[in-house]
Symmetry: C2
Subunit: 480 residues, 2 copies
């Protein structure tokens, strides 16, 4: 009989501790094969899925690594010794954003053919269901000739909105198709949401580090960014946010609670609830970017902040760009009480989104292959991210800190003090390697010795070689 | 031998005058068939194409009307007696735009199924090459599987930009593919262009009346609109603009020189040159919306302001939304010297546009059917617009003034003083007829007794009936 008196979490924590004990006392050595799921399940009298959870957790923490068709093996010590970056402490004043043209310059290069694509948070097309999508596109383009060329005005194609609403039920958000407004990807969703809740001159609180597009959008809209301390594992620090709200007239908060870009942080669901409660007290809208939410490595999808929102103050932005077809530009907003403002801004920005790609995605979702695809995709991203993390741990100097994301596909890496990541970026470019310098993720001049690396593309020798070269370049800069 | 000593323009003016003379002295009566092109050509010793130009000009002016396969006939007097609206005289102060939710409410209704679609400036899908486009889409979706789903970052798909550059040579603008940035329709092109040249708080000069989306975008971006007097036939009044620039710190001018929305005005090419010269003197950027430029009824396409710009101060915005596929959302900017600012803003607004629709339009353009399609489309729009104008002239009360556009498909109608077009809009909606009230086209409270009607959809009995009902409603409101 299996042990059922403990919660699943306690159970797999226990399995994990046993295994860590065996690794640390030398029972299991580097390179050893770890007992199979079945064997461990029998030995400890727990279910196979509990052992699987434990192994995945240990893999995330760098103790073991899976090899396809072969099982799990004990990793090199350097793969698990690496610390994560500490909580950020940005200076606490609202600021004008002035990232100048750095972002454009960097992304101009980052997409050049032949470059090792560690810089840009894009999925590799090899991971995407290209053929099935194309079939869906061809089917609807034949079946709905005129719909496919006519305006598809906000809120967007009804069939697609129904599918999104249907899927949202999985994350405990009870919405219907009318609660959704389709946008040109999450990028436009973010712009529309910001315009809907704040105006030029307003203060907007953001995580520090923040996704640079958020900062630049705040700049373009003439708003001010107030950076809030953020933990690289659990996200936005609520105490700091509370203080910031007390001291500043904050008009909106923008956050990426699920697998933050660049830190990969996952805000625990109970903290999400506290965040929403805090913002309810002050009647401050929250714009949450949930674009990585489906890319969890754990046992279940993390919830959105909107799931805890009874007052319509949360605007959830998301898209299919990381999971299905970046080039289709299909995103959406669940705008809560701001539907009318969101509809108006969306209309003004682009008079609706392309109808044909909305119809094609709706057709693909209806056909039912999306969940199966996501299961595979999560496994791929996870494996790619682990490989990247291992390589960085192996090739970068001591003192490097690396985040340990539980989802998504970006790493946030703190280099030894004194390493200038803009210099590293430039040197890497000479070797045709793309990286994103940390200073882009703040308005405060911080994160000069951080970089973001992305694992959206399949792991390859060229990537391993790229990280090795990067490591050498970091060594050189660290020793200057 | 044909008479060749006169310029073509003088020649066809002479032909037109002869015919007007015959109509006015009663030689030709209402309903009479006008001499055929061949007969008139022989009689006056001019080319058939000169006679054709003259007849088209007379048709535009409401003297004669063509009937398919039958020739030209003399029209009712009411079709030619109607005056055009006078030059606008907005009050000359920069203003915050506050159109509230009127636009959204009105367009929410305007697109309802079953409504007589006179309110919205959309093309009827019956006029569009739906099948050929779909073929292009299917072809490229099979041939470029991965390109079709991957990000297509700014400046956008190279094949499409080449085609647009190639076509621009026809309007004397020598540009290449690198001078073009693809956007989500001209709507996004406008937002991007405004963001590229002005910031919150800046004064932007616009035509009065102005396209309401321009006004709302200025509002959303926190800028101020300064309305400039505008002639309903020749567009923006340069003297007034000069004065306005002298008195205000104008940071940009937005204009629709070719077939303005709502007036249909066409700025003569020499005035375009003067406009550009004026703005050169003051180093003020001009954003020109050329979305109706291909829809000319005359003998040749009007030029863009950009054709006269040697300093890169003109940003030309356009799209395929009025000519090919509104739902594909394929527009572009030719940004002059502002390319880098435009690229950055476009990236931030939507990270590139959908790749698949860009590829499909490029394929369609390459295949060569576009010019043939445009010839037909211009004829259809022209006929629809003439029909609409005739009906308004017939059914609306004396004192109604109607513009006489030389291209595009919108009419700007001045109703007798005292008729409130918002009231008319509401009454019309009861009869399921869409109209656009004039007050949306200004920030000044003007144009309360104006409406815009659109002829983008094929003429039908329902439309004729709709205009007749509208006329009755206007009569009622005029007699209160």
């Amino acid at each position: 009989m299996q042990n059922t008196s403990e919660t699943p979490r306690l159970l797999y924590d226990r399995v994990a501790s046993i295994l860590i004990g065996q690794i640390e006392d030398g029972t299991l050595l580097v390179g050893d094969r770890v007992p199979s799921l079945r064997k461990m399940s029998g030995r400890l009298n727990v279910s196979i899925s509990t052992v699987m959870q434990a192994y995945m957790n240990l893999e995330d923490r760098g103790f073991i690594r899976s090899r396809p068709q072969s099982g799990y093996y004990v990793c090199q010590r350097h793969e698990r010794d690496v610390s994560v970056p500490q909580k950020s402490k940005p200076r606490g004043k609202p600021r004008k954003v002035q990232l100048a043209n750095t972002v454009e310059t960097i992304f101009g290069y980052a997409n050049r053919p032949g470059i090792v694509r560690l810089g840009v948070a894009n999925p590799g097309t090899e991971l995407l269901p290209v053929k099935a999508l194309t079939r869906a596109l061809r089917k609807i383009s034949a079946a709905q000739l005129e719909d496919a060329v006519d305006y598809c005005l906000p809120p967007g194609e009804i069939g697609l909105r129904r599918q999104i609403a249907f899927r949202s039920a999985d994350i405990d958000t009870m919405i219907d198709a009318d609660d959704i407004v389709i946008t040109n990807g999450a990028t436009e969703a973010l712009v529309v949401s910001l315009q809907a809740v704040a105006k030029p001159g307003d203060v907007v609180a953001v995580e520090s580090p923040a996704y640079f597009s958020v900062l630049q959008t705040i700049q373009t809209l003439g708003m001010l960014a107030l950076e809030i301390p953020t933990d690289s594992e659990s996200g936005l620090c609520l105490d700091s946010l509370r203080d910031a709200i007390d001291e500043n007239d904050v008009k909106a908060v923008v956050a990426v609670p699920n697998f933050h870009n660049p830190t990969g942080a996952l805000m625990p669901d109970d903290v999400k609830k506290d965040l929403v409660d805090l913002l309810h007290e002050r009647s401050i809208p929250l714009i949450e970017d949930d674009v990585y939410g489906d890319l969890y490595f754990g046992e279940r999808r993390p919830r959105t902040c909107q799931a805890f929102d009874s007052k319509g103050l949360v605007l959830t932005c998301s898209s299919f760009s990381k999971t299905l077809a970046p080039g289709y530009r299909v995103g959406w907003i669940i705008p809560g009480r701001f539907r009318s403002e969101v509809m108006q801004r969306k209309q003004l920005l682009s008079s609706g989104s392309a109808g044909i790609t909305q119809l094609a995605v709706a057709e693909f979702l209806r056909s039912g292959g999306y969940d199966r695809h996501l299961i595979q995709l999560r496994r791929r991203y996870r494996e790619q991210l682990m490989r990247l993390r291992e390589s960085v741990a192996e090739y970068f100097p001591d003192g490097t800190r690396i985040t340990r994301p539980q989802g998504g596909f970006v790493l946030w890496i703190q280099l030894p003090r004194g390493v200038d990541s803009i210099e590293l970026y430039e040197n890497a470019l000479q070797h045709k390697i793309g990286v994103t310098p940390g200073s882009l993720f703040s308005t405060t001049g911080k994160y000069k010795n951080f970089i973001r690396l992305c694992a959206g593309h399949p792991w390859s020798d060229a990537m391993e070689q790229g990280v090795s070269t990067l490591g050498r370049l970091v060594h050189e800069l660290a020793n200057v």
